[in-house]
């Protein structure tokens, strides 16, 4: 089985996995980093969102062999102590209901705000449209992204 050296949250991890194994399952099953969630497996729901060199990607559809030297950030590494402005905003607004999709929502929002620090309401909605929240906490997600932008300003 091929082995890979992955840069995750600033640390190097060696894993042995089939080349077509999605990054999602390498994170969850091989490396016990379960914050990244499995939702659909076909890049439709966003629950598995991580950053690849700062870009939001769906880890369920990214084969481990395609990661290469790129650095991966997961919800566990977004901040050391939950202090990233998006995490703080999520807590202040009390966004989650069941909470399952929220790691993916936070990763999408944080990658988006890094590129667009002063978004309009419309831009926030467009950016978050790819992430499904089955509990429909959409009003609060929108508010939390706007609040996080304010905190980052």
């Amino acid at each position: 089985m091929p082995s890979y050296h992955l840069k995750i949250n600033g640390e190097s991890h060696a894993v042995e996995a089939c080349e077509n194994t999605p990054l999602l399952w390498v994170l969850r099953d091989h490396l016990d980093m379960v914050g990244t969630k499995f939702g659909c497996g076909i890049a439709q729901c966003g629950a598995c969102t991580v950053h690849l060199d700062g870009n939001a990607v769906r880890s369920c559809s990214l084969p481990v062999s395609a990661v290469g030297e790129k650095s991966i950030t997961t919800i566990e590494g977004l901040s050391k102590d939950g202090s990233h402005p998006v995490q703080v905003a999520w807590k202040e607004i009390d966004v989650p209901q069941c909470g399952y999709c929220q790691a993916g929502q936070i990763m999408t929002a944080s990658a988006f705000l890094a590129k667009n620090p002063d978004p309009s309401e419309e831009e926030i909605k467009n950016a978050m449209h790819g992430n499904i929240c089955r509990c429909a906490t959409y009003n609060r997600i929108q508010k939390a992204v706007a609040l996080a932008a304010k905190k980052m300003a």
């Binding site: 919800i75 499904i132 429909a136 959409y138």
Partner: protein
Amino acid sequence: MSSTTSNIKFNRRDFLRTSSLAGGGLLIGFNLFTACKPNAKPPVDLADLNYKDFNAFIKIAKNGAVTIFSPNPEIGQGVKTSMPMIIAEELDVAWDNVYVQQGDLDTENYTRQVAGGSQSIRFGWDALRQTGATAKQMLLNAAAAKWGVDVNELSVSEGIISNKAGETLGYGDVVEEAALLEVPGEVTLKDPKDYKIIGTDRKNVDIDKITTGKPLFGIDYKTEGMVYASVLRPPAFGQELESYDASDAKAVPGVIDVIEIGDKAKKLLAGEKVNWTAQLSPSAKVVVIAENTWAAMEGKKAVKAQWKFASPPESTEFHDKKLTELLDGKEFTTLRKDGDVQKAFAQADKVIERTYESPFLPHNCMEPMNFFAHVTDEKIHLVGPVQTPEDAANTVAELLGRDVADIHLEMTRMGGGFGRRLYGDFVYEAAEIADTLRKPVKMVSSREDDMTTGVYRPAIKYRIKAAIKNGELTGYYLKEAAINGNMYGLIPNFFPAGAVENYQVDVAKYDSNITTGAWRAPYTNFLAYAEQSFFDELAEEMGADKVQLRLDLLEKVKGTTDERIQYSPERMQGVIKKVVEKSGWGKQPEGTYQGFVAYYCHNTHVAEVADVQLENGVPVVKKVTCVVDCGIVVNPLGALNQIEGGIIDGIGHSMYGNYAFKEGMPEAKNYDRYRLIRMKEAPKVETYFMENELSPTGLGEPTLPPAGGAVANAIKAATGKRVYKQPFIQYDEIWKVAEKPVLG
């Protein structure tokens, strides 16, 4: 001053027991739902904590810290936060000093824990308050004894007891003495005016773990030596496994073994010892065991299985025909009958009849069904997300021919429930796999497994018929035709029962091989849309004001002696009047079109107004104004989240939810072909509560059912077109520009 708003009486001695903990501190065991055994005693060591006799515990440590072990499964409805808040209020402690822990079950003594749906707060309200108040009284009694003063001279605030001399004692200072005291026979509950925690915004107790990605959910669970299982179930309803070839599957890297299960389930089904939540499939299934989830899922794709139909395959077209036949047919059950509707129709000036149709709906919990199981000769360890842990444990015991006392079931936070996790089929599968393997194993469904082997909200048709004479509603007849049945006894006593002299509700069903069951706000999630659409049209036909028609009908119910009537006409009128005021009903700006609904279900009264605007000629839901009467609002921050979610969920499924079958097989298998509401389609929800001191009622469900009706009525106002079928998106004439699902 005491101010109990409930008339439920508890035998306190039966539901409360205290003991001093071996490690120091006071432990109070109580049962939220039923009396425990009269001689039951809570453990003296936390390691012995079990739920055999009590289903919840409070621990007060010597340092004054309070831990509340919350018994109820958390599916996102917020009870892990709101139920402990009620205890903390009466206990009079600072919320910041309260630590909430999901009740963990004891290895040897597992018995009862209950998932209450929208009923957790309603049923728990008295027991939770009395428990907190009882503990407080014991601590006060202990302090009074220590100081040698009358207990009535003492006051308490945030866990600090004060006497007249100005001396203070913390709860932790008297907890050892308190644990030795008798449980008081009577306690005084707070006047709601004095509440400091109830009615204030408190954040989800798991918020830090959720936002930092800590393991919380069943799918996150892992133990040493655990393997992963993926189950190949029949692709079509009605099918059973004939044969399979696993040689390719076994060649997939990471695959350990391929086994067959289902034999035990089949025997159990034959014995008819299965409870209502079981939903066991009679077919054998092929299970791929692997080193990781991906390998198990890949291995499953490589299994070559042959299936045969044990019962004929059904399709949406077939169901459509059957349900129409049932509506037209003479086979039905009458659930309620007042006066003579046929006579009312015969004598009417005008008769209106409409039919409303809905498809099946899958639950689509974001966390797919999964469960961990480890079976040995000594015990059975089960871990995962299930709304009915007691039924799950009992059925697993039955299935494996074991004693239920061998079972240790741990509940995890659930990535959504919506009713799907009431049915424990995935628990039994995991247990049967583990029984065969004799190794720790986690069964994980793929999204496709989850969606295509579900327990669906049934397809339903309603026919509603009204008689109008001299400008009055004189007759109302509703008939339900549903796959496997839907409505039950109490629902026909909802509005407009009691308001119309001649009133009848009939139900008919077709028994299908497609599994159906409870889906968020069961029984009314489609009914409310149908009835609220009908009332809109009824007002138009009668030339009546849409709001006034409801208010006038409700007026007739006031002072009713009919004890079957479930709703309160006064509370319903209250939410209606307030939503009219808050939504600017009838005063909307040019270009905004409104739809009005008022509904009662799950013991809560709700009125909603949807605001729709036309964008490029297409109706878009911009805002929903909602007024809720749920009595006392325990945690407004959590309550608002439930209300917003319920409304957007209701609109999403009314607009887009469509689950069709062909040859017994679901047509959509994943989110590329099944549309859920997303950010850009979600309206802004503005919520107002009725302020009163009545006992709290449920909030996880009641705002969902009428939301589709509010939108349907607003669509009519905006476009002049009435939608009679869900999902609304199928009306091409309204959505002129064919809207395709926007993909992520």
